[in-house]
Amino acid sequence: MTPRGIGNVVRKAAVLARVAARHRLSQRAAAIGRAVTYAIMLFVFSRLWSVIAAAYPGTSPPADRVLWYIAITEWIVLSMPQMHGDIQDELRAGDLLYRLTRPIAYPWARLGEGLGDLVVRMGLLGIAGFGFAYLLTGTVPLGARELAWVVPLGVLAASVGVVFELAIGFTSFWLHDCRPVYWIWQKGLFLLGGLLVPLSLYPEWLRAIAVWSPFAAILHGCGTLALGEGEPLLVGLRLLAWFAIGLGLVALVFRRGLAQLDGGGG
């Protein structure tokens, strides 16, 4: 594709993102539900880490930093739209094929929509979650530099998640139900991503495996900003690398899937 062609796709995907964002804003009840879930989760973990801190004085990292770590990782996870299900439904209903008649490739149109949806979710959940984390801890343990980086890196991290969600959705071309693949991905995020516990508390051998996975790049990378351990530029570079890998994967899986559909019937 020429640079002009890429620019054209990006422009159209941005318009789709804007409409998807407006669409998401029109669904207030779901946003409130997610914010409440997020707040409950933070409350439970704030109690849990207070108990741990009381039982093991001098534990590192401190409880308030861990709570902010969880606030960041949960913010990323809860903001990611579950696009694999939508893609699977579109494929089952036959709608996906009909969207191919538009002058923008389906994966990039879907990515635009996903990112638009994501930005709104991140905005709403960020305000609710970070506000609640502040209420629970009474502090913001991020320095000015980390604070400036946490939002753009968080959005980039969730965008990597959206790209992998697309690739998972496209496995529906072969699998009648792509949820098992999603569950593996989700458990990978929870465990190897360090959703609830920073990787620095993991056994050495597991941490050594986890840090090379996209899961750690998506969650732990941004979370480390709250722990005062992360280097924002390195976190950003890792995320960009995984974003590029994810885009390549999406293009590959989609092309193969379409060929499979072409031979086996629409």
Partner: protein, 337 residues
């Protein structure tokens, strides 16, 4: 005249996996699943001129959708040659997208929680429409389809008829030369159906658009199109004008006599009374046995008439007769082989 659509010897064969029967079938299918070839479209050839309105009809599984998917570049054919608006669809899908419009009655391109105007703006951007041209065209279409009052309400709050009018406007915003309509009136009430048909025909006539309509509703076919292609078992059974179809396939006429006397008796070969009421008699006439003028003369001799109407049977019956004939021919071929 130029051809909007050219199809030569187009075929599509799908390979479908069959699940083996018996115990542990699911397990065995993991390493060996028998495959079967299904011919969805079988060497069809046709030409559609620019500005023609053509109905593409056939029973479920006839190959209509597969053909439309190949024409719009969604599927690759197994063999054959196709050009749509001068493009090879599966090789130039993106370029072709600017020149075709699609309306699928059972699928929506409108964002349900947003007003239709938002989707229109989005489509204008996706189809690279110049803002001034887009605004002017949108104004004309909104007036023609009378959707001005519904434009700023969330789509989910619209009735099916209102939504379908918005769907058609959405597909015409980039002024496509060719429009594929798949069941555009499905689920609509009688009045909404009539409105949609009239609007589609009127828009196509005014702008010289080529229309390829697939529908199970023969009313759509009669009101919108001038030509009909009947497909069955992946092959074209018939390709004629609607008028020729009527002339060629309709051997029966429905005659209604309204008489001064309570009843009238007609004893003619090929004439059957289908309904009788005081001062009214409905007849079915086989015109191959008794011509209509003979029936009229007999009716005039038999009593005093207040009114007389002669109608063709519904188009549904005509299409059913075509399918039935095709199935009988296929059975004969099977027996012969």
């Amino acid at each position: 005249m130029t051809h909007a659509i050219e199809i030569d010897e187009l075929s599509k064969t799908f390979t479908v996996r069959e699940r083996p029967q018996g115990r542990f079938a699911a397990l065995r299918s993991l390493w060996h699943a028998p495959k079967r070839e299904v011919i969805a479209v079988d060497r069809i050839s046709l030409r559609i001129e620019a500005g023609e309105r053509v109905a593409f009809v056939g029973p479920n599984g006839a190959g209509k959708s597969t053909t439309i998917k190949m024409l719009s570049g969604i599927l690759h054919p197994t063999s054959g040659r196709v050009r749509v608006a001068g493009h090879v669809p599966w090789q130039e899908r993106q370029q072709l997208a600017y020149r075709i419009g699609t309306v699928f009655g059972q699928r929506s391109q409108l964002w349900q929680h947003l007003p239709a105007s938002d989707t229109f703006d989005l489509l204008a951007a996706i189809y690279d429409q110049d803002p001034a041209t887009y605004r002017a065209r949108r104004g004309v279409l909104v007036d023609a389809f009378e959707i001005g009052a519904h434009l700023h309400r969330p789509v989910r709050q619209l009735s099916l008829g209102q939504r379908m009018r918005c769907e058609i406007v959405a597909s015409l915003l980039h002024a496509p030369e060719i429009v594929f309509l798949d069941e555009p009136t499905i689920g609509l009430d009688v009045s909404a159906r009539a409105t949609i048909r009239d609007l589609v025909r009127e828009q196509a006539e005014r702008h010289g658009r080529t229309v390829l309509l697939t529908s199970h509703d023969t009313g759509d076919m009669e009101r919108v199109c001038a030509r009909v292609i009947v497909i069955h078992g992946g092959r074209i059974l018939l390709d004629e004008t609607i008028d020729a179809l009527r002339r060629g396939y309709i051997r029966r006429k429905l005659v209604t006599l309204r008489t001064v006397e309570p009843t009238i008796e007609l004893a003619l070969a090929g004439v059957r009374v289908v309904k009788r009421a005081p001062h009214r008699t409905d007849l079915e006439v086989d015109v191959d046995i008794t011509p209509i003028d003979a029936v009229v003369q007999a009716a005039l001799r038999g009593g005093q008439l207040n009114d007389l109407t002669v109608e063709d049977p519904p188009m549904d019956d005509v299409v059913q007769a075509i399918y039935a004939r095709a199935e009988a021919d296929a059975r004969l071929r099977e027996c012969a082989s």
